[in-house]
Each structure stands twice: as structure tokens, then as C-alpha cells.
Symmetry: C2
Subunit: 345 residues, 2 copies
DNA sequence: CCGCAGTATGTAAGCGCTTACAATTTTGAT
DNA sequence: ATCAAAATTGTAAGCGCTTACATACTGCGG
């Protein structure tokens, strides 16, 4: 047993206000059919006693914890930081807290983290992307937990989503380059295993290239981990090839930064000698020199919409199974027509 | 009352294993004095039934929720993202979850968020910096909640901290410039209200300048919000002055990026005509051209140490009241001797 | 062979709320 | 006024665990 607690309990408030505990609870929870007089008596007693409800007891009794869980690959990537930031801000409006867990793109870790969060009692869950262990879905369904995926737009009856098309904009980027006359395309991609977004972007690049009759050969597709230095390395290995590419499509802005920096270090002019594209539109993209042509990923908007939709679902409402947000192509100065003659003939 | 639940309860496990509920609980919580035989019977029953303990019930009964709260100004700044990322990873090792709340540098919001997290039942709390509402401290103390501040190194018996000195490295940065011969220093600072870190950095810049006999005049200190564009603006307003500064000390890397970009746009060579320093050492700092001289803020290390220390405190152990981590000066190419003659005589 | 310390397990009383249901009061149409 | 329906408040049974305390063993020195 526990020692008698010193803290003010709901029962104390009830006594102080001269009402029942149920009434105090009702006032606390803004239940309907509570008279103004009752409300006043109770709030006055609460103020007098400095009462603070106990979240854990409330969670046990009401079966909701007042928090959702978010599973993100990493918070080291600022694009996810931006999304989580807006998600948390918006959840606050709904009086909901946020539990986060990261899994470094390891889907087994994701599944484990998901189970942990569920065990913790979260009222809902947000996942990034469409790639997950099958057990994740069955667990979610068995518990009938409201959930949402985001950052992608796959049509899948099992996975409701709020996100954007990754392939389409990637295609648009490639088409933009092809339209400019580029025929020697190269791609720097993030690892595609366990990452549908990276895969979709890569696929988009490929499709556009193939549709124009100049598919990207495998050696022109290099996969590297996330990071500026990694982008630099990718550039090196790509530019060793003959003929060198006239344009490099990058799976995200950070890789593009690396590629761009390495190119400049090598004395290659952008976009005159080499065009570069990114994906994300991080804040610094428009400040690079030249400013980076990229896709504006609606990270903050996703956060807001996920918050609203998940809260609605938790409240028993139904929300669209799939919400598509535009991820517009942002044309800047890192792309231009290919050089008329090969740099090294 | 509630409907009879379908879910497997601890009681079911007890029945299945032919033991008492207390025994199941003991096995679950790795209590001492549990025989191997009991443990096996119980774990077997758990597996057979697919039992998953209920976090909320456990929280109510045991008075710990298995999660700590983190109060950060924003997650939109990648330096905090990096810290939260490592914090969460490390907490996971200790089987502890993370609840986050942001407050946009508004200390009233911080206080409110703190109260919300406490009400939620968090086992401990991490705050950023030394500036907080007095009520935050009293609330923390009244609840006897383990807590830690970080990102600063103020000696204050009330606030245990794990962080780094902000003023010292700022001083080092300014001294570095003064040593190079600069006498026309300027500062671009983040807003210092409610932000002891920004204030300490500014103070460090000032002290060093004054100690060398060339204090920074007020018009040479411009305060702008966080952002690259804001850094650009700061540059403009600074370079309008006569004589223009030969070096600009920035309160963080992002502002420094802005200043650097605006300088380059204006055709000013760095560091020949203008030296620039940052603070944070974001990943891109070493990839700027020229690479940015800055202070390496140990964000990931702070996350790890905070996790370990807070877990220890929650466990009743005492940890050092103040842990100082080095934030080294990283000399790169954005700083150099001032031009011999003024650019515009 | 007894008794005591130490170990292992069981019993059941909470933890501090929410909410189904009952009881009471108010309202509104006769 | 009269009574059913609606609105308001009260009663008390959980929610699913943990843990203090009681009980039952176990082994060992005397």
C-alpha cells in the first residue's frame, strides 16, 4: 500500500465545494449538462486548493492518455524536425501531447518502438512513409488504434495517409532537365531499402528519363547515406565517369548541397557546366549559390494536417483516407541548359 | 462502469500460470527474489496469451510513467533537433520514452507546457537554458520532480545543468578576431530577452572587445530573429555604417550563413575583406565557402549526458550538479586578418 | 530436531480518477 | 395544478496494475 498522500485529490475538491466527485470530474472534463452554479463552486474550490488532476489516474479511468506517438526515422534531419515542430504546436491546440520515437530507418526498430508507444497508451500514432513491417499494421488494427501515415501518397486501403507524391515531383524535376536538353543524367539517392520515399523519387527520375528515351544507366545511379559529405563523395564517383553527367538529380537537398559544393570545389560552374536538383526545399536551398532547384516538401503543413486529422479520428470522426498535398517544383538557378559541347571532348 | 474488456490482463496471466498476480508483476518488473521456476512459468504464460501490460495502470500504481518531458524552444532549429535525437536514442536504452513540448522562446508558454507535462505524470524534465519563470522552479521543487537544465553552464544552486559555457567561447571568438588585428567588430545576435545563451554569447563578444580597448558600439550590435534571411538583413544594416566592420560575430551559424551569403552577394571577399564567425557548428558550417569559423556546440553529447543523468536522478541517485562540456573553437577559413586599408577610404 | 533468519509467494488494499446507473430536481405541455 | 420528459447531480464500481504485509517455505546452527 501507499502512504497517505499529501496531495490534493479530486475528492478534496469535492468536499471543499460540497459536491460529489462525479460533479468535479464533470466540470473538469467540460461535460454537458453542468449548471453554471456547479461549475463556479467547483472551479472556486479548485483554485482555493490549487488542485491539479493526476494524468495517470485520468488515463487509466478514461482510457485515453492525452498524447499521441510519432515514429520518425530521425530528428537529425531538419525536415523531420520541421514537421514534428508543427505537429506538436498544432496538437497543443487540441490539448494533446506528443511522444516521439526514432528508429534510424530500421523497420524492426520501428516496430518495436511502435509496440512500446502502444503499451505506453498513446491515443493515436503517426508514422512516416509507407514501408513498415506487416506486424505493425496488424498490431495497430488489433488495438483499433487511430493512426496515420504521412510523407507519401500511396493508395493503400490499409494505410491512411496525409502526404505528397514523391514520384511525380521527381519526374517533374527530371523532365525539367530533359526539357532543357540534358541527356546525360545522373542520380544521387538515399538508400532505398525500407524507404519508400527515396524509392519513389528514384523511380520518378527513372521513369521520366526512360520516357524520353534516355534511361539512366545503373552506374549513373549512386546511393549514399544522408549527409553533405556523402553528397560530395557521390559527386566524385559520378564525375569520374566518361562522359560525365551534365545534370545530377539528388534524392534530397542535403545530398544536393554536397554535390554542389564538391562541384564548385572542382571548379565546375553551375548550372553552365552541371545542373543540380534537390528535394525538400530546406531553408538554405534558396540561399545557395546558385539557389537550388528543388521540390518544396510541405513539412509544416503535414504536421498541422496530421494533428487535426488524428485528433478527429481519436474523437471517432472519419477523415479522408488519403490527403494529397502539393509538393511544388521550385525552379531556381542550379539548373540550366547543358553545355553545348562536352567539357572534356 | 466499463464493459468487460476482451484484452488479456495480468490476472489472466496469473491464472494461466497458476500463480498470484503479485508474482506476475514481480516477474514483469524484474523484482529480486523471484525463483527461476516462477519466472519461467510466468513468461511462458505471457507468451502463450500474448499479454501486453497496460502502461497507464502501471503508471497509476507505480507512480512512474516511463517517460520524461523535454521543453525546447523549437525543433525548427536543427541544433535542437540533433540534441533531442540523441536524447531520445539514449533514453530508449534506459527503457524511457520522451514527451516533447516547444514554446517558441516564450517563457510563459514554457511554464504552461511544464505544468502540462507534470500533470501528464512525467518522471523527469529537461529544460533548455537558465532563463525560466520563477514559478517553474517552485513547481518543480514542490513536486520534487527530478529535472535538469542544459545548453548553459550557469552556476546556480537551484538549477542543475549539463552544458557548456556560452560566454567563454564567444570571448574566444572575439579574441581570435582581435588577435588577427580586427578593431572594427560588429555583432549579429539573436534576441536576448528570455534567452540566456544569446545573452551570454553577446556578453562574451563584448567583454573581449572591451578588454582589448575597442568596445563594440551599440549601433554595431544588431539583433534579429533566427534565420538565414535575417542574417542577410543584419549584414545590410551593418555594412551601411561608416566605417564598415571588418569582422562580424554572429550569435549562431544560421545567422552567420545569412551574413556570409549577403556579403558574397555584395561582392565582398571573405575573409580578405570581411571575417565572419558563427556559433553551433551545424553540419554545413564546414562546407560553406569559405568554411565557417565557429564554436562546436556538443548537442549530441548533451543529449546523451542528460539522458543518463536524469535517469540516474529518477532512480534516486545523485549526479553532479553541474556538468561542463567543452565547446571548442573551430578555426576555419571565414576569419583572417583585416584588410590593410579600408575598402572604401 | 527445534527455531530463526532469510527467501519465495500470496493476499488484498489501494493508486486517483471516470462513468454507468440511480436519484433528484426542473421544465413544459396539458 | 399534474405528470412525463429532460436536465442535473449523486453513488459507487471499476480501470489494471503495484506493493505492503502476511504467510509459507528453506536451510542451518545449536
Amino acid at each position: 500500500m501507499h502512504k497517505a498522500t499529501q496531495r490534493t485529490l479530486l475528492e478534496d475538491v469535492a468536499r471543499e465545494a460540497g459536491v460529489s466527485t462525479a460533479s468535479v470530474s464533470r466540470v473538469l472534463n467540460h461535460a454537458p449538462n453542468v449548471s453554471e452554479r456547479l461549475r463556479e463552486k467547483v472551479t472556486a474550490a479548485i483554485d482555493r486548493l490549487g488542485y491539479v488532476p493526476d494524468g495517470t489516474a485520468r488515463a487509466l479511468a478514461s482510457r485515453r492518455i492525452g498524447a499521441i506517438g510519432a515514429l520518425v526515422p530521425t530528428l537529425d534531419n531538419p525536415i523531420f524536425g520541421a514537421m514534428i515542430d508543427s505537429l506538436e504546436q498544432r496538437l497543443k491546440r487540441h490539448d494533446c501531447r506528443l511522444l516521439i520515437a526514432t528508429y534510424r530507418y530500421d523497420l524492426d526498430d520501428e516496430l518495436e518502438a511502435l509496440r512500446t508507444l502502444i503499451q505506453q497508451g498513446v491515443d493515436g500514432l503517426v508514422l512516416i512513409g509507407h514501408d513498415h513491417r506487416p506486424a505493425a499494421l496488424t498490431t495497430l488494427q488489433r488495438r483499433q488504434l487511430p493512426f496515420l501515415t504521412c510523407w507519401h501518397a500511396e493508395e493503400d486501403p490499409d494505410w491512411p495517409c496525409i502526404g505528397f507524391d514523391n514520384a511525380g515531383p521527381a519526374r517533374a524535376l527530371a523532365e525539367h532537365l530533359l526539357m532543357l536538353g540534358h541527356r546525360q543524367l545522373a542520380v544521387v539517392s538515399a538508400p532505398v531499402d525500407s524507404n519508400d520515399r527515396a524509392r519513389a523519387r528514384l523511380e520518378g527520375f527513372r521513369q521520366a528519363a526512360e520516357a524520353t528515351g534516355c534511361p539512366v544507366p545503373p552506374e549513373r545511379i549512386v546511393t549514399v547515406e544522408y549527409g553533405i559529405a556523402e553528397g560530395c563523395q557521390a559527386f566524385e564517383s559520378l564525375m569520374r565517369q566518361q562522359p560525365p553527367p551534365t545534370a545530377i538529380l539528388c534524392g534530397n537537398d542535403t545530398l544536393a548541397f554536397g554535390v554542389m559544393l564538391a562541384a564548385q570545389r572542382a571548379g565546375i560552374r553551375i548550372p553552365e557546366e552541371l545542373s543540380i536538383t534537390g528535394f525538400d526545399d530546406l531553408p538554405q536551398a534558396r540561399f545557395m549559390s546558385p539557389p537550388l532547384t528543388t521540390i518544396a516538401v510541405p513539412a509544416a503543413e503535414i504536421g498541422r494536417r496530421v494533428a487535426d486529422a488524428l485528433i478527429a479520428r481519436i474523437g471517432g470522426e472519419t477523415t479522408p483516407h488519403r490527403q494529397l498535398i502539393d509538393a511544388p517544383l521550385v525552379l531556381r538557378a542550379s539548373t540550366g541548359p547543358p553545355p553545348v559541347q562536352q567539357p572534356k571532348p
